[in-house]
Symmetry: C2
Subunit: 427 residues, 2 copies
């Protein structure tokens, strides 16, 4: 007898319960989106979620992690060590006993808005237009967090109790390397398996690339701009550095053969995200810094990726005498996400695929994520094998006019509720 047939009434009840509450779900998500939870400003949304979890009768734990203590851990990676204004939230729904435990993890920190001119919707408005709920973080990943919360509400609303415990983690700092998930793991929250509803567009991601931040500092020699031939422009030298990084990205991706990456144009991208240098229009710039994010393949080590970048940057000096004498500096700083690789044939992944088939009536796409999540860290720090599946339009994450389809949030909630029932068992 397959899993599918065991709880036909439960699925129908959950579906019905959620379908009748789409309006309230949209209101909750809009309210979450209106919280401007860029890093350091996560208190408001965590308090909002804590109130929702308390209403479910869960044991709620809201705390600001001690950055000093956290930063001494070998898995810590963050540009900051002070987490004032960035509380973490965890809550437990105790099972009736005898079932396996499950952990739902999601982050509520969002990246900055970027150039507001490029938004046609209010980035903090939570406006619902033709089924799309707009706002910074709508896809990445307040939609997913809302889906997890809705799943728990639906189970309770349908009078379904679970045998195993459910842990709900709403963490900060995912966008800078997972200090929130690390803090929750070190506080003792763990389970037999986990799910992170990052915006996969309802695909199943058993593997995610890791990634890490780097800084390249390019040196020039200052001079008066009017006699700029007396100097060496760090901006011009930076052009060569950008070209070398693009070349390295091309080389690395030409070696990726994992079929889960077949549909991904650049499986392990190297993104140059920030550039800055020079102080004065009339001076030759003596320093330009580039900051970026290097993808690490799911089965690659962080160390291997770092060594390839080092080599590519060292090679610049072979063709450029100035760079030979004034080498570009490479630093690994701030954020880092560990790669994650689950066996697509493991019980956790197979069960999720079946649940999605049952809810949606079709098989989900199975891909390797082109971006990092906290799943690798949950595995390394808390021993929780974690799969990634959630609502959200990945193409709009970190972009202007970010949005999530409300319909997908409801579908994900249904999948998560059924997944909890299957994994933890009925109590």
């Amino acid at each position: 007898m397959s899993e599918k047939t065991r709880e036909p009434n439960a699925l129908a009840a959950i579906h019905q319960w959620l379908a009748e509450r789409e309006h309230q779900a949209a209101q909750l998500l809009a309210q979450m989106t209106r919280c401007r939870s860029v890093q350091g400003q996560e208190t408001e949304i965590q308090q909002l979620l804590a109130a929702q979890l308390e209403r479910l009768g869960m044991e709620v734990d809201l705390w600001e992690p001690d950055g000093e203590e956290l930063s001494s851990h070998p898995l810590f990676a963050s540009p900051r060590t002070d987490f004032a204004g960035s509380p973490n939230l965890a809550a437990k729904l105790p099972g009736s006993g005898g079932g396996r435990s499950f952990l739902l993890n999601g982050h509520i920190d969002v990246v900055p808005v970027g150039d507001p001119e490029q938004w046609t919707q209010d980035p903090w408005g939570g406006n619902l237009v033709e089924g799309r709920l707009y706002g910074r973080g709508a896809s990445d990943m307040k939609g997913g967090v809302a889906a997890s919360l809705l799943a728990l509400q639906a189970l309770q609303g349908c009078g379904i109790r679970l045998a195993g415990d459910v842990i709900f983690e709403s963490v900060m700092e995912e966008e800078s390397g997972g200090a929130g998930t690390l803090a929750a793991s070190l506080r003792g929250y763990r389970a037999d398996a986990g799910l992170i509803p990052e915006p996969t567009g309802l695909a199943v991601f058993p593997k995610q690339q890791g990634s890490l931040w780097f800084r390249l500092t390019v040196h020039g020699r200052g001079a008066h701009g009017g006699s700029r031939y007396e100097g060496v422009s760090a901006i011009e030298k930076a052009m060569g550095v950008v070209a070398a990084v693009l070349e390295l990205e091309k080389e690395r991706n030409s070696r990726i053969t994992d079929p889960l990456y077949a549909a991904t144009p650049i499986p392990v991208p190297i993104n140059l995200g920030v550039i800055g240098g020079g102080e004065w229009p009339s001076s030759v710039p003596d320093r330009v810094a580039l900051e970026g994010r290097m993808g690490v393949a799911p089965d690659e080590t962080i160390q291997n990726a770092q060594a390839q970048m080092s080599r590519a940057i060292s090679k610049l000096g072979q063709k450029d005498g100035w760079l030979a004498e004034h080498p570009v500096e490479l630093e690994w700083f701030g954020a880092r996400w560990l790669p994650c690789s689950l066996d697509p044939e493991s019980e956790l992944v197979r069960m999720l695929v079946e649940v999605v088939e049952e809810v949606r009536g079709e098989s989900p796409a199975m891909v390797a994520a082109p971006w990092g999540t906290d799943a690798g860290l949950l595995g390394a720090a808390a021993g929780v094998p974690t799969v990634v599946f959630g609502p959200g339009v990945v193409a709009t994450a970190h972009q202007p006019d970010e949005y999530v389809l409300l319909e997908d949030v409801m579908t994900a909630a249904e999948v998560i509720a059924l997944m909890l029932l299957r994994w933890c068992g009925r109590g």
Copy 2:
């Protein structure tokens, strides 16, 4: 009877007076260099100079220009309109009557230090090492301002009174377009001729290029760095913009034939001084801004240079569909220096050349400056034909380890003193 023979005793006396005071001159210049007179912080050095000028019995005028009033003038160009903390200084030494007047103008604002790591000397130390006085602004142009002051002191010290008036202007804001010189001109300070002791390395500059600041804003489209193929990197697009600017510079300079530019590798350079864009290492940058300074040939108009830049930037869209739809924006902002072109055969230039020959025993180099000065503005706003000649190592201006040769400061002081005597006549 040539000018040379008219005042043999005066020259010898001035030379002797200065030679005996090299130590005090170094102390004065060191004291000036220790004033951290970046823009907005010029009060301390102006007060120091005001005290020196008062000691010479001059009528001293120290005032903070009214930015509101100033900014309505058509020749105004500055990134700011509030000049609090940036007083201007002018002083008059009345002649005995019957002589022509002369104006000495110099700026005491300095550009920022840049990367302090690249300095081996304290940028604010004013240290004298093997005849070199080090510090930000030592060459550009506190050495020249000191030379002008020393010239007046030497004339007084030798008991030489002049027939014509001398105006001494110590102005702010030259590094951003000359609001200080404009303010002094509008306050009524003018003369029959002028000299600006910018760092020419004791060469005579009858022509200087003009220049103006521009900003290029390059648009991309944000995306999550992990799926960066969904976005368009403004950093990558900026590389093409940098290349187009370099190409335009090449074209423009290939057309310069003025023999005064024969020794200048890039007569009218286009300097890209500042780059900045992107907010997050893991996001595709949606905007990069480049700020720079475009040289304008002495006999070219500002309008012509602007039109050429506009054309070069518009052309980018012809080869790049993204840039065709999202054109690079060009703005002319902040500073602007008018070009200046004196006839090398004019009395002012000939007289200066002869005085330099007399003091140094050899003819000065005569070149067209590769950078702008306030001379064009002095001509346009106050009607003062102005030549540029001064101590200083132009290759170190705006650079780390900027210095001036103390010996050149003393030589310039001697040249200026004798020039005043020749131009204004003995009183």
